[in-house]
Structures are given as structure tokens and as C-alpha cells.
């Protein structure tokens, strides 16, 4: 499962390197950063999950992969290098249009509602084929039918159906089919299971995992739900206020989160077993475009480990083996005398216990702080 990156059958899965990416939105209050200085690598053949709340910039980041940020937003700095395509940020017009679909498949947020309600799925497929200059439309339809069949649907029937004849889970699968049918090997799924039931969600996530492995893809999943990422992703990046605050192998991050936000988020999700009293609300509220602090750490308003350095200095991403964390407190902790290195957890344990003790006090004030 998530641990071992699946083999890439033909080695066509592209790698993606996002570096120093910043996206700003023009507002009456000036240009505000939705994504600022994000470095993220998607190794070929892996599934990466980006987790964040509303306003974290996760969807904007996903759109940047296609250079599809809409005005009043624009990519103000950085690059997105995709193997076999080059820097997407530099692409324009026709090149860009061809790259979307051919190289990068995108399953939009609320894909359930992104189909044309007046046309059958098959007609929309042909439209897609023609707009991308596909010569052999028969082969395209055959491919679509196979993909749908692979996802447990009756391909011929689905192609003859209109949107309203399909259930939410079926539409989501149709969305995935559209993203893959032009043979893209980089796929972006934005909130693939929002508004779906638990059972349907589990089915979709299984399909995402299987199709990813079979077709040799590089996949990016954008979601607000840690559970979704935990189910499918090899690597996990946590975004907050337009920045990636922690990233690394999913299992490592979930087992031992180092950024106070990741910790708080994990603790704020009620679980099915264990002491339910351990679940704690995160104080404060996520920043919006207008309230993201310009300097220092974006999370400091809600952070139990807040210290002076957080006010002014933007925490650099510090590497711990395969992981990286952007937190002054975590960095200081690591530099502590007892810490033998990233592997041993002694130092981090202290930090965590400290956080817990202080976190308890904060909870009572949490709701009130939400309005500050």
C-alpha cells in the first residue's frame, strides 16, 4: 500500500519539481499571496497528497500545475518543471492547451457537476478528442470504455448516458476517465471524494490507487481530509496559509507529525477507537487571503509553541531525512542536546508533551480566539 512506491511499468511517469512557486491575487487591498514560495517535488510514479483547509492555497497550487490560475490571480514567481514538458509557467497559448489533457489530466473539484448536462458522456468524449486533434476517435472511445470498465462501470452504457442519469460516484469515475483518456501520465485530483458517501469514497480511493499503479502515473491528490491522503498517498504535504509547512512520507508524517499544525490537525479529527477525550479542537481559525501574516510564521496565531522568532522570521524548511518541516520550534528542538538525529524521537517527544500541556490550556480560549 502507500509505503512502497509502485513500479512504473514503462517509466513514463513524469517527475514534477515545483520550486519557489508564488501565486498572488489582485484585490482592492493590493496583491495578496495565495501561495507563497512553495517547494514541492512529486517523484515519478508516486501519489502525493496535499492537505489543507480552506484558504490554504491547495487548489491554487493544483491549478498552477496546469498554469491555469485565473485572473485576478497570477503566478508571480517560481517554476513548475514537468519531465517531458519543461517549465509549465513559461508555456503559453496553444502549447499550454495541448499540454493540458495530453500530459496533465485534471479531475476538477466537484467533478460530479462538471459534465455538460445536455450532452451524453460519449459526445463530450468526442469533443475532447477533436479539440486535441485525435485522429483515431474509435480508438479513443475504445480506450474510454476500457477505462470505465476497469473502474467497475458498464462503459458502453455510461458513454450513452447524460449527467443526470449517473450517480455521484459514477460521475467521479467519469471525471477520472476524462483525465486519463488522452494518456496523460500526470494526474491531478482536486477533492476527489468531497460530497461522496463513505462507501463510495472508499471505492473511488481504491480505484485511484489501482489505476495509478496499472497505468504508471504520477498523481497529485488535493484534499482537506487527512483520511483520504492516508488511504492513497505515498507522500504527504501539509499546506497552511499558502505555504507547505510539513512534507514527507505519509506514514512517517502521520506517525510522528513535527509541525504543530499537523499535530493539531491530527488531534482535531475524532477517531473511531481510543480515548475520544484526546481529540482537541485547534484554537483560532484558518487565515483568509487578507489575513495571512506577511512576515514570520503563518501559523503562529494558533500555535502552542509560539516564540519570538515566529513573529519576524519566516521558518525555513529544515530537512529530516526524507521529510522537511518549516517550524522554528521544531528546528530548535532538533538542535537540542539530547537529540541524536531525525531518527530518534527523544527530543521530539519532549516537544510533543509540551505542546499537549499547553494545548490543553488553549482549548478553553479556542472558540473565543477564533474571532480575533
Amino acid at each position: 500500500m502507500p509505503e512502497t512506491p509502485p513500479a512504473t511499468p514503462d517509466g513514463r511517469a513524469p517527475g514534477v519539481r515545483i520550486s519557489g512557486l508564488s501565486v498572488v491575487y489582485r484585490t482592492p487591498a493590493g496583491e495578496l499571496p495565495a501561495v507563497s514560495g512553495v517547494d514541492l517535488e512529486l517523484p515519478p510514479g508516486t501519489i502525493t497528497g496535499v492537505v489543507g483547509e480552506s484558504g490554504s492555497g491547495k487548489s491554487t497550487l493544483a491549478l498552477s500545475l496546469l498554469n491555469a490560475v485565473q485572473p485576478p490571480g497570477r503566478i508571480s514567481a517560481g517554476s513548475v518543471e514537468i519531465d517531458g514538458l519543461g517549465d509549465v509557467v513559461a508555456l503559453r497559448g496553444e502549447e499550454l492547451r495541448r499540454a493540458r489533457g495530453r500530459h496533465v489530466g485534471y479531475v476538477f473539484q466537484a467533478a460530479q457537476n462538471s459534465l455538460n448536462p445536455l450532452k451524453t458522456v460519449g459526445k463530450q468524449l468526442l469533443d475532447l478528442g477533436r479539440s486535441h486533434g485525435v485522429r483515431d476517435l474509435r480508438a479513443l472511445v475504445r480506450e474510454a470504455r476500457e477505462l470505465l470498465g476497469r473502474m467497475g462501470l458498464d462503459g458502453a452504457r455510461v458513454l450513452d448516458s447524460c449527467q443526470h442519469e449517473l450517480s455521484g460516484g459514477m460521475r467521479q469515475r467519469v471525471g477520472i476517465m476524462f483525465a486519463l483518456v488522452l494518456n496523460a501520465h500526470l494526474v491531478v485530483l482536486d477533492e476527489p471524494t468531497t460530497a461522496l458517501d463513505m462507501i463510495t469514497q472508499a471505492t473511488i480511493l481504491r480505484i485511484v490507487r489501482e489505476v495509478h499503479a496499472e497505468r504508471g502515473l504520477t498523481t497529485l491528490v488535493i484534499t482537506h481530509d487527512l483520511g483520504v491522503v492516508a488511504e492513497v498517498a505515498d507522500r504527504l504535504a501539509v499546506m497552511y496559509g499558502g505555504r507547505v509547512v510539513e512534507q514527507g512520507p505519509t506514514r512517517d508524517v502521520l506517525a510522528d507529525p513535527r509541525h504543530p499544525y499537523t499535530r493539531g490537525l491530527l488531534r482535531a479529527v475524532p477517531r473511531l477507537t481510543g480515548d475520544i477525550g484526546e481529540a482537541r479542537a485547534l484554537p483560532g481559525r484558518p487565515p483568509t487571503l487578507g489575513t495571512i501574516p506577511a512576515d514570520g510564521c503563518v501559523f503562529r496565531e494558533r500555535c502552542p509553541l509560539r516564540m519570538d522568532a515566529c513573529e519576524t522570521g519566516r521558518p525555513p524548511a529544515v530537512a529530516y531525512g526524507a521529510r522537511s518541516v518549516s517550524c522554528h520550534a521544531a528546528a530548535e528542538n532538533r538542535a537540542g542536546p539530547e537529540d541524536g538525529g531525525p531518527g530518534t524521537a527523544a527530543g521530539d517527544r519532549d516537544g510533543e508533551d509540551g505542546a499537549e500541556a499547553r494545548g490543553g490550556e488553549e482549548v478553553a480560549a479556542g472558540a473565543r480566539e477564533e474571532q480575533a
Binding site: M198, I199, T250, A255, V269, R285
Partner: protein, 336 residues
């Protein structure tokens, strides 16, 4: 005490060219919520849980069955006489964005029902503002900040708190929370759930919680009851902990199996129940409704209707001919 007996509801699609299609949303549901109790309805969308919530809140009519509030059967009353009873049951909408009027300030939103209350109880006008502040404090908001604001100036979490405060203006006995946290940011959800739990303890308000997320239902209190609903029928019912830790109905088991496992933090359960077919609301009505999707179904399941009962000595009631505990829930990983 609010009880329902044999509640049924069928929606008929009107205007269909070839005869109206019928959707049986509820097929005889019994429930009881005691004072200060917490009852959660869980199930897939379309299972009828939202309809049941709306019926309980008096916003929807039912076809047959009886709702009784404090022992008074509602069918014995004229519609006008029912209103004060149903006013004691307040619905908290899923969407805090549409639940508040965008053209009215929070002060206006709270003052209107409070003014009505003041008139009914003969309190002076000054009580209105006082009480508005008090209620906002109760839901964890700063009245000075919130009162003059419009809904769009507040976050989703704050809006949902305002909606709860507004429901409290009429001193309700029960809050019906329909997916009340699903549209709220993950880091703020627990705060709202904690508030509901808190209101139970401090005001003795009972909570009817409608969700597809079983784990959040757990958070409302360890004395809570869980009703698992499938296609308008309760298939398993019992204390939350008992149902979650030892579900016996295959449908409950497949719901719990589907909950994502936080690998690293948790180990998946030893077993996993996956329905053999996707949900089809128009399926045959004979026998157990889940039989067609059930991996353990036998001939009896399609022929006979299982009745909700305590057979098999489990702590919960269930409607299954072959009840068996299966460990499908993830357990916390042993921390190394």
C-alpha cells in the same frame, strides 16, 4: 422526551411523464430521544436520515406513524396547536452560509426571535440585548465583536455558532444537527461538536445528530445512541461504543470498513466488509433490503424481513438473520 413510532414517508416525483416514480424514504422508523440525550443517525446519503430529521423538527410531514413530544401525540393536535411543540425542536442546518440572512446583522438575527420570546413571557425589551449577549457567550463568541457584524464577515465556524445561538433563543429541548460540521473547516469542526456536547451538559438540551461520519457521533458523549439507517429502515441500534467496537450488521460493518485508516497512527481492522454491489435505491423491496449487496446473504435474507431486535445476546439491537461481530475498525497503532 421525543419519540417516534413507525414513521414512514414516501416521496412521489410529480410531473414525470410515465407515471410518478416513488422513493420510499422511511419505512417505519421507531426512535426515542430522552432529555439531554444524544442520538445519532448514520447512513449513506439517500438513506432517509435527513428526511427523518426534518420530520422530527416539524419541517416535513410524514405519511404514517406517530411523533410524540413529552407524551403528547402530535396527530391529536391541530396544525396550529402543534407549532409550540415543534418550536422546542430546532434544526441546525448543514450549511451555515445559507442559514443566516445575508442582509441582516447577527444582532437582528438574534433579536427577532428574542423579541417574540420577550413578548410571550412578559419580559422587558432590555432583556433582548442582554440575552443575545448571554447566548453568544454561551456558544463561545464575543458579543461585542459579533453582534454588529453581517454573516459574510464571520468564518464558517463562527456562523455555525451563531446558528446554534439563534436556535437557543427559544429555549429548545432538542437540537437536530444535520451534518452540522461537514461544511466547516477541519480544524474548527471539533469546536462545534464540543459545543454541542457542552450544551447537553450545561442546558440539558438533547441532540439528534445526523451524519455519515461515525467518528464525530462518538464525540457527542459516551452515553450516546447510534441508529444505523439503510434505505429507510433502522438496521442496527445501540450505545455508540457498543456499535462502533462490535458492529454486527454487515451494513454497519461496511460503513465502518470504509472509513479511511490513518496509516502510521492506526492499524486497519482485521476484517473488512465491502458491499458486493453499489447502492441502488430502486432495488427490490422483499426481505432484507441490504441482502442484494451483502457478502453474507443467504436465501432467507431475500425471502423474509428481519426485524430489529436483541437476538444473539449482543449489547445492541440489530435487524440481521446472521449477526456476527467483526473487527472492521482501525485500532491505534502501538507507538514504538
Amino acid at each position: 422526551m421525543i419519540t417516534g413510532q413507525g414513521i414512514t414517508k414516501t416521496f412521489r416525483q410529480r410531473g414525470a411523464v410515465l407515471g410518478g416514480r416513488e422513493v420510499r424514504a422511511l419505512r417505519g422508523v421507531d426512535f426515542a430521544v430522552g432529555k439531554g440525550g444524544a442520538v445519532s443517525f448514520i447512513g449513506e446519503s439517500g438513506c432517509g436520515k435527513t428526511t427523518l430529521g426534518r420530520i422530527v423538527a416539524g419541517l416535513e410531514s410524514h405519511d404514517s406513524g406517530e411523533i410524540a413530544i413529552d407524551g403528547v401525540p402530535m396527530s391529536s393536535l391541530r396544525p396550529r396547536a402543534r407549532r409550540p411543540y415543534f418550536r422546542r425542536i430546532q434544526l441546525i442546518h448543514q450549511d451555515p452560509y445559507s442559514a443566516l440572512n445575508p442582509t441582516r446583522t447577527i444582532h437582528q438575527a438574534l433579536a427577532a426571535p428574542l423579541a417574540l420570546r420577550a413578548r410571550q413571557t412578559g419580559r422587558p425589551g432590555s432583556w433582548i440585548d442582554e440575552r443575545a449577549g448571554e447566548l453568544l457567550g454561551l456558544v463561545g463568541l464575543d458579543p461585542g465583536y459579533v453582534l454588529p457584524r453581517y454573516p459574510h464577515q464571520l468564518s464558517g465556524g463562527m456562523r455555525q455558532r451563531v446558528v446554534i445561538a439563534r436556535a437557543l433563543t427559544v429555549d429548545p429541548e432538542m437540537l437536530v444537527a444535520d451534518e452540522a460540521v461537514s461544511m466547516i473547516d477541519v480544524s474548527l469542526r471539533l469546536g462545534i461538536l464540543a459545543l454541542l456536547r457542552d450544551l447537553r451538559e450545561r442546558l440539558g438540551v438533547s441532540v439528534l445528530f445526523i451524519t455519515h461520519d461515525v467518528a464525530t457521533a462518538r464525540y457527542l458523549g459516551d452515553d450516546g445512541e447510534l441508529y444505523v439507517i439503510y434505505r429507510g429502515r433502522v438496521v442496527e441500534r445501540g450505545p455508540v461504543e457498543a456499535v462502533v467496537s462490535g458492529p454486527v450488521h454487515p451494513y454497519t460493518q461496511s460503513l465502518l470498513s470504509a472509513i479511511p485508516v490513518l496509516h502510521g497512527l492506526e492499524e486497519p481492522g482485521a476484517q473488512r466488509v465491502v458491499p458486493t454491489e453499489p447502492l441502488d435505491e430502486g432495488g427490490p423491496d422483499a426481505g432484507c433490503l441490504f441482502a442484494r449487496r451483502c457478502p453474507f446473504a443467504t436465501g432467507r435474507c431475500t425471502a423474509e424481513v428481519p426485524v430489529l431486535g436483541a437476538a444473539g445476546g449482543f449489547p445492541q439491537e440489530h435487524a440481521c438473520f446472521h449477526p456476527e461481530r467483526r473487527s472492521v475498525v482501525a485500532a491505534p497503532a502501538g507507538r514504538a
